[in-house]
Amino acid sequence: MSAFWKCIPRHNMRRLFVLTGLLAWPKVTLAHAFAQTYQLPMPYWLYIYGAVGALILSFVVVGLVVQAVPKSVSADRLVIGHADWRYSIWGGVLMHALKIFSVFVLALCIATGLLGTNAAQRNFNMTFVWVIVVLGGTYAAAVIGNWYSILSPWKLLSRLLGHVWTGYQQGRFRYPQRLAYWPAVLFYMAFIWLELMGEIRPISLSFILLAYTGVNLLGVGVYGARAWFRYCEFFAVFMQLIAKMAPIEYKRDQNGSGRLLLRWPLAGLLDGEPEHLSALVFIFFMLSSTAFDGLAETVFWFRLFWLDPTGLFTWGVGAPPLEAYAEARQWYALYEAVWLIASPFLYLGAYWFFIVLGRFLARSTVTTYQLALRFGYTLLPIVLAYHVSHYYSLLYTQGSKIVGLMSDPFGWGWDLFGTVAQLRGHLVPDMGFVWYSQVWLILAGHVASVYLAHVVSLQVFSTRRQALLSQVPMLVMMVLLTGVGLWIMAQPLQGR
């Protein structure tokens, strides 16, 4: 923090001391304040090491591995099971039990927030929704595939409603194609905004869940379940994207019977491409919202606004932010929201630039838009690796508390399963381990993305020379993405 003090003129120090009380704005009680990661910024040398590694490994991938890409990687599939087991007695019982459980847990989360304690740590719904589902559910989808498409409580509720009300699931109107995935992008942005800045308590979380249930059921009634859960329900879109990376896939064959397939991890990303610009924005928001969450807690971010290095605030309001404090706080909320919303478009802009460059170098006749879409999925390993390295320790420190919360979901002092006292203590992973695992995870994601982009480029361009040339800007962009990600993780964090 010493750097922060050094940058303030001496005569302002006194004023600042008076203001420090104010400056200690109530740190937002977001998921990560209620559930702390306990993470220290990554040491600077490790950031440099990671960034250099991204560069070197990129060339290793290009130089060695890609030269001998097995052409069948994307097509290799091993049938490991027939989904007919779902229709066997035990399979059917299990599936029904899981589905009932899914709807029950949604109802429980709403009920505990409305009726139970409003202390975030002691209410079941906060830990379950923000940590178990949002983090754990995501990582589960990356391993076992799209569990959510079967167990989404909203899908199940709409199906239930469809049994009572014929025609409900078909909807009343055709889904307007030009809306594409934009509704999902909007819902996703609203969700992250609430998570990071909404000061959510258990009771407000219940209202959010209720409102989202209402919106989903209404949406299905208007546009039909198929379109709604494909384009609008952001969690379904999110999970579907993550599950493309899973080594397990569920598919129906020509006869309509389901099969469980084993494939190479990430190979699913080579099937198809994002269908629309909005899907690309969605993917970039997956990355930029994680980056923003990291950046918003750094000294760098804090100084960028409160010390007004651009002079914009002072010029606009007539006083520096630290003096016009009350007004500045409102602007700060707006400033953060605007950057959050703008963030995926900034990433998209950079991506677009490098795609244009690659297209120029390869002298390709494919349009820039088509190329941008074609390489869209290859970014997902970077997205997932960054997400995991940011949040996995939270899953460990806070997620483990679900064992105790299960026994006392409302915070009323129950002990239903006798687990209330279990894992109560603080599980804090060793910082050394966390740092190293973060760097290795991010590098692994980077290597995977570089590899996939090369495989795609070999499919898109007719000559190997074109493919290689087109990948030079792509490589630069991925090194930058990884470098910026690591840089954010190495930034000192804002104290009080």
């Binding site: 923090m1 010493s2 750097a3 922060f4 001391f17 008076v18 203001l19 420090t20 009380g21 104010l22 400056l23 200690a24 109530p26 740190k27 009680t29 702390q36 306990y38 993470q39 220290l40 040491p43 600077y44 040398w45 490790l46 440099i48 090491y49 250099v52 590694g53 070197i56 490994l57 060339f59 290793v60 130089g63 060695l64 890609v66 030269q67 001998a68 052409k71 203590g425 603080h426 804090v428 060793d430 910082m431 050394g432 070999l458 499919q459 007719s462 000559t463 190997r464 000192p492 964090l493 104290g495 009080r496």
Partner: protein
């Protein structure tokens, strides 16, 4: 689509590329040992000590004292606290809770055995009083 795979395989087998890759990997592994410092504390932080004491005063004007308390893992830490109002402070991660009575000094003493970044928070106002950063031993 047919790929000119033969030329690619030939390239992969060419000894020059293999040598270059091996050199790159060796350099990269070596870089780890060159870059990794003997201590993981940021250079601006205080020198490793057996025992560190911090003073924090909570008053109308806010909190006086360090915004961030940086220590090496294994250090004994004393945090002396004075507040002008009754309060309850919570050091996250370590699970320490301390009651404050107006004008009376209270001291939180513990060994910083777990590395990480831990907030010292007021349970009354839910405001951040300070942050304890414990850097792991190398």
């Amino acid at each position: 689509m047919t790929l000119p795979a033969e030329s690619g395989r030939a390239l992969a087998r060419s000894p020059l590329i293999v040598v270059l890759v091996v050199v790159a990997v060796v350099l990269y592994v070596g870089l780890w040992f060159v870059l990794k410092p003997s201590a993981l504390m940021p250079s601006s932080a205080e020198q490793p000590q057996q025992h560190i004491r911090y003073n924090l005063t909570i008053g109308q004007a806010g909190v006086m004292g360090p915004r961030v308390m940086t220590v090496q893992q294994g250090t004994w830490v004393d945090i002396s606290l004075v507040s002008d109002r009754a309060d309850e402070l919570h050091l996250h991660g370590y699970g320490k809770v301390i009651d404050l009575h107006p004008g009376e000094m209270a001291t939180l003493r513990f060994k910083a055995g777990v590395s990480g970044r831990f907030e010292l928070e007021s349970h009354r106002s839910h405001q951040l009083v300070s942050v304890l950063e414990v850097y792991p031993s190398p």
